[in-house]
Amino acid sequence: MIETGYLQVLAAAALALLALILTKIKAVPVEKEIAFGSVRAFVQLVAVGYALEFIFDSESFWLVLLSVTVMLVVGAYTAGQRAEHFKSGFTIALIAMGVGSLATLAMMLALKIITVEARYIIPLAGMLISNSMNATAISFNRIGSDLKNNRLAVETALSLGKTWKQASRQYYRDSVRAGMISILNFLKTVGLVALPGAMTGMILAGASPLDAVLIQLVVGYMLLMAVSISALISAEMAVRKFFNAAEQFIG
């Protein structure tokens, strides 16, 4: 197992410094971002580390709930910003991500894959919520631009007596698919192109590769479910925002 302390982190920070020097030599104007980003990552992660230590030690249900709620609200707010062409992006994102992540977490508890412990719930909820957030944001972006750019096609279909659902079906499907593309690519290439983060982390921490693989598979399937649900719900709810009860395109 690798020995990791602040000294090792400081040594690794030299790599960030090297990146800064290289970009400075080549006059790529990113030095401020590298410097600020590196310090910010350090502060954020150390703070989260202490917070997690505290929560794990306290085993307080309320602290776990608060942590998950904060993650969900911040994630929904971020994804909601992608709803440029319709209203209620935050609410839709909150529902889509909430259902996707929490239903998956509940299933994992029900199937006894994990137990009700802060050290399982919080990291897994974080992974589920961040992946759901990306799926939701991408779905929002895709459905908004597709419907705006294909107004003529949508209104042609409506003019031929199609329902709003039929008129927008193709764009709904494309939006769900776009939201899922990252997890689908992950499933295709996992182990071939890159070793995923959770698995790499476990191996570096001294776990056997096979144990790490099994955990990674659990994580992969878990993410697939959460992302699918979030993409389906966000696209479905977002499409509805473009039509009214009279089958009129109001986007």
């Binding site: 003529l152 209104e155 042609t156 279909a157 003019s159 031929l160 007596g161 009279a246 089958e247 009129q248």
Partner: protein
Amino acid sequence: MSCNETLILRSRELSREISKNGSKIKTVDAVTFDFNKGVVYNIVGPSGAGKSSFLRLLNRLDEATGGEVLYYDKKLQDYPPTELRRKISMLFQTPYLFPGTVRDNLQFCCPGKSVIDPDFHLKRVGLSADYADRDAADLSVGEKQRVAIARSLFLEPDVLLLDEPTSALDPTSSRKIEELILSLADELCLTVLIVTHNPGQALRLGGRALLLVKGRLIETGETSEVLTNPTSELGRKYLSRELE
């Protein structure tokens, strides 16, 4: 088919108000008019007169904010929108054909349930039967517009709403579409409302004309009367501008 010019569509004080840059604008302002079966109506007027906006209210692509439209004595709102739009079908300035063949487009309304007879459905819009299996993307704009008309006719509508259907076409193709419109109105007893910015086209189509200015119906009557001898000051202004 005999066509006895019975009343089919009535617009009563029809209005639509929209918000633009914080202020309210009436795109259609209290338009009252009766449309009969089998007649071609030219909707004319300057840019921004509300011609297309008026058309969109007649099959509920947009919702009126005032007044009403009656289709066979029933309010448009009394019909399910999907059913209504099959009977009052709208075609746009740029014809949109869905990916696939011409046949796929013709049976777009009811895939799997409908049988296309290219000899009938395509020939009546002036296209040969072998167009049925051609890729829609390979057609010229004029051919696309014909297929779009054939696709609408497949629904057996009572009213065709055409929003500047020839604006993207060359003069020869435009004339062919005009001839097609006239023959369809006559043979199928179809009511055709056509938005045009071209007084010459309106005169060739004949029928009746509605002159809209700033959303208001300024003048109506036989197309030749409205466009050659307008009675209102606004009508005369519009015509003099167009003739310039």
